[in-house]
Each structure stands twice: as structure tokens, then as C-alpha cells.
């Protein structure tokens, strides 16, 4: 039983590592269990194996990214970003179909662009990847700016106090990063089919389940998509920020991206007296300073931090 459990936990490691070192690891874990007189010795070793496996996967995907020159780092990040981008937007299919009675043009541009960017990245074709990523970034910037300048609707709301914040705005920095990464490193060769299947699976699974259950949106889509979008954005950018902070690498970029993701929500909550994106356009004397501030805060933070980051300046 214990051997079976430890062998199961060993599956958390990448296959190559399992084949190479699996028996050594299993024997070590079994010896430590056998000589540990404390309670939960078995579960400690089992959890330790799972944590070790996850750490190994993480370092294979993101390992050394923060310590790399920025162009190489973006080249390494491009596939995880493209996969995350497609997954995030596939998750919005449910509300797009059920709440809004069909996808809007902007939404279609974002979703199709995300799929094209992912396929282009998998094929290692820079032109195709850029063809998908640039419209996504443009649409995301338009959505991000709409709360201040236009009369965009809060399509994926998060309620903070009495203020509706659009969760999709938080994705803007990640979409921009994807476009830059596609330009910098997408043409680094075709990915193996196994990697392609892994990258496409989350987006396909979420998209299909949303398409099949959209008529029961209220019952099944209990996780509101607004917080999901914002959460996914912050998780991606937070991961980059954490890696950068630990290695002392491109912290400027990461910190600025996280700040940019948070800024629209913070700005909207801070000016809660002004009704945001609920209907008609707001007067220019109100929307202009808000929009400029929303852009200026992350931009100046980026410049300030970039000056401190030698790696980023290199």
C-alpha cells in the first residue's frame, strides 16, 4: 500500500526524471518512512514527492527565466502565456453565449486571436503568432481604456463594495506581454505534438464545457468569470513577479505588469462616486485624468523600477 502510494506520488515528476531517477527516489522515500517514528511519516514523504515533482515542472517551464536576458525570457514564456491566454478566453464562452445572447465582435476578435496566437506559437511561426496576438493585445487595451474614455460595458463584473469592475481589464498587461513575447521568441521552432496537446487541452476543455452548459449558466458557472479573469491574470503575473523577485532578475517588468493589472480596479474603486461604465460616456474632464492616471501609474513604476534593474537595462 505504502509503496503504491509513493509510486503514485512519483507521477508528479516529469517522465524523463522518473525514468532516470525514479527508483532512487522511491527507495530513499521508503527508507525514510521506515526509520521515521513520527506520526504521518508516510504522508510527509508522499507530500514531499508531489511538491518536488511540481517544483521540477515549474523550474522546467520557468527555470531561470528571471535571470535570463529579457529577449530570451520572453521567448521561454511565450508558450505558457499563449496557452494561458487561450484558456482564460475560452472560459468566457459561457457568459458570452448565455448572458449576452452571443459573442460580440470584440470578444470574437480576442478568442480567435488567442487561438491563432497559440497555434502560431506551437508551429513556431512568428508571423501567424503575431497575427493572433496583436489583435488580442489591441482589443485588451481597448477594453482596458474603455472604462475611462468610452462607454464600454462591464461584461465580466467583479463587485467591490458598490462598484462594478470589469475583470477582463486585468488581462491587458498579460495580453501585451504575449504580443511582445510572440514578436521576440515565437519563431524558435515547432513544438512537439505532445506539448501541443498539453497546451491546447485546458482551452478546449473549458470551451467545450462552456458550450455544452451555457443554457444552464446560473447552475453550472458558479465561478463568476470576472473574478476568474482577474484571478488568472494576477496568478500569471504574480508568478512572474515572484520568480523575478527571488532571482533578482527582471523585477521591473513583473512589478509593472502586476501593478498595471491592478490599476483599473483600484482606480474604479477609488473613484466609486463616479458611475463606471454603466451606460453613456462620462464627461471628458472626469474621464481624461482617470485614464491618464491609470496609464501613468504603471508606466512610471515601470520606468522607475527599470532604472534599478540592471538586467532589464542590459
Amino acid at each position: 500500500m505504502s509503496r503504491a502510494l509513493l509510486r503514485l506520488c512519483l507521477q508528479a515528476y516529469p517522465r524523463r526524471r522518473r525514468n532516470q531517477d525514479g527508483e532512487v527516489l522511491l527507495d530513499l522515500a521508503r527508507e525514510l518512512v521506515a526509520t521515521d517514528d513520527r506520526r504521518f511519516a508516510m504522508s510527509r514523504q508522499a507530500v514531499g514527492l508531489v511538491r518536488g515533482g511540481i517544483a521540477e515542472h515549474r523550474s522546467r517551464v520557468l527555470g531561470g527565466v528571471a535571470a535570463m536576458p529579457w529577449r530570451d525570457a520572453l521567448g521561454r514564456l511565450v508558450l505558457p502565456l499563449a496557452a494561458a491566454n487561450a484558456t482564460v478566453w475560452a472560459a468566457t464562452l459561457g457568459p458570452a453565449l448565455s448572458v449576452y445572447g452571443g459573442p460580440g465582435r470584440l470578444w470574437l476578435v480576442i478568442v480567435l486571436g488567442s487561438v491563432v496566437a497559440l497555434l502560431g506559437t506551437l508551429a513556431g511561426t512568428r508571423t501567424v503568432a503575431l497575427l493572433g496576438a496583436v489583435p488580442v493585445a489591441a482589443a485588451a487595451v481597448a477594453t482596458w481604456g474603455s472604462f475611462a474614455f468610452g462607454h464600454g460595458h462591464v461584461r465580466f463584473p467583479i463587485v467591490i463594495g458598490s462598484v462594478f469592475v470589469d475583470g477582463s481589464q486585468a488581462w491587458m498587461p498579460a495580453a501585451l506581454l504575449l504580443a511582445v513575447a510572440c514578436a521576440a521568441g515565437a519563431a524558435s521552432g515547432r513544438r512537439p505534438i505532445r506539448v501541443g496537446v498539453l497546451a491546447l487541452t485546458p482551452a478546449l476543455a473549458l470551451g467545450l464545457s462552456a458550450a455544452m452548459t451555457f443554457d444552464r449558466y446560473g447552475a453550472y458557472w458558479w465561478v463568476s468569470v470576472g473574478p476568474l479573469l482577474a484571478g488568472a491574470s494576477l496568478a500569471v503575473l504574480g508568478g512572474v513577479a515572484l520568480a523575478a523577485a527571488r532571482r533578482g532578475g527582471a523585477a521591473a517588468l513583473a512589478a509593472a505588469l502586476v501593478l498595471a493589472a491592478l490599476t483599473p480596479a483600484l482606480a474604479q474603486v477609488a473613484i466609486r462616486l463616479i458611475p463606471i461604465a454603466t451606460g453613456g460616456p462620462r464627461p471628458l474632464h472626469i474621464s481624461l485624468p482617470i485614464g491618464l492616471a491609470a496609464v501613468a501609474v504603471p508606466a512610471s513604476a515601470c520606468m522607475l523600477l527599470a532604472r534599478r534593474s540592471r538586467r532589464w537595462a542590459r
Partner: protein, 113 residues
């Protein structure tokens, strides 16, 4: 850069000579008075990282009672790093210890009349 505690004790354990994974884990527990007890996953991850940084290398592999064992040893860089860290910790400890002696001395000194 300061070493993390488990890494420090893994390197310290290997100062005595090449050891296999289980022996490293028990030696680390002994050296740290049971404070650091790495799991197989943690120890393996640490050894892999130290190997990629050139601080540790694999000496040999053997099978003992049906168990596969891999022996690791410190490289010259590894020994230098752990000794530098020990010196750093000693210097940091002295800052506090010397202050403790000075403070006790002040307490014992009789007040002027």
C-alpha cells in the same frame, strides 16, 4: 548570497565524505538537532540544484539489499561555499554574543557614588 538552512546542512553533511541520499537525510537531522528533516522530494530537489550549480557531484551508484543508492560528494566550490557561509554565520553570531558580554559587564559595574 546566504544559503537556505536545509542547503547549508546538506553541504555540511557532505564535508565528512561522500554519502548516499538516506545517509545525507539522517546526517542533516543529526547536525541540526532534528530541526531540519528533509523529505525525499526536498532532498532530491536540493541535491539536483546543488549539482547544477557545481557544488555537489555524483560519485557512484550501487545497489545495496535491492535498493539503488547514489553517492554524492562535495566539489571544491561546494566546500568553499559552505565554509564561507559558516564564517558569515559565525561573524553574525559574534555581533550578538559580544553585545551580550558588554551588556552583562555594564550591569555588574558598580554605580559611582
Amino acid at each position: 548570497m546566504a544559503l537556505r538552512e536545509p542547503t547549508y546542512f546538506v553541504l555540511a553533511a557532505l564535508l565528512d565524505g561522500p554519502l548516499h541520499g538516506y545517509a545525507i537525510a539522517t546526517r542533516v537531522a543529526d547536525l541540526s538537532d532534528g530541526r531540519v528533516r528533509p523529505t525525499a522530494g526536498t532532498l532530491y530537489g536540493a541535491l539536483e540544484r546543488l549539482r547544477s550549480e557545481g557544488l555537489v557531484e555524483i560519485e557512484r551508484e550501487e545497489v545495496v539489499e535491492g535498493r539503488k543508492r547514489r553517492y554524492h560528494r562535495l566539489t571544491g566550490d561546494g566546500e568553499r561555499v559552505v565554509r564561507t557561509e559558516a564564517a558569515r554565520l559565525r561573524a553574525a553570531a559574534e555581533v550578538v554574543e559580544l553585545r551580550g558580554v558588554a551588556a552583562r559587564g555594564r550591569q555588574r559595574r558598580p554605580r559611582p557614588a
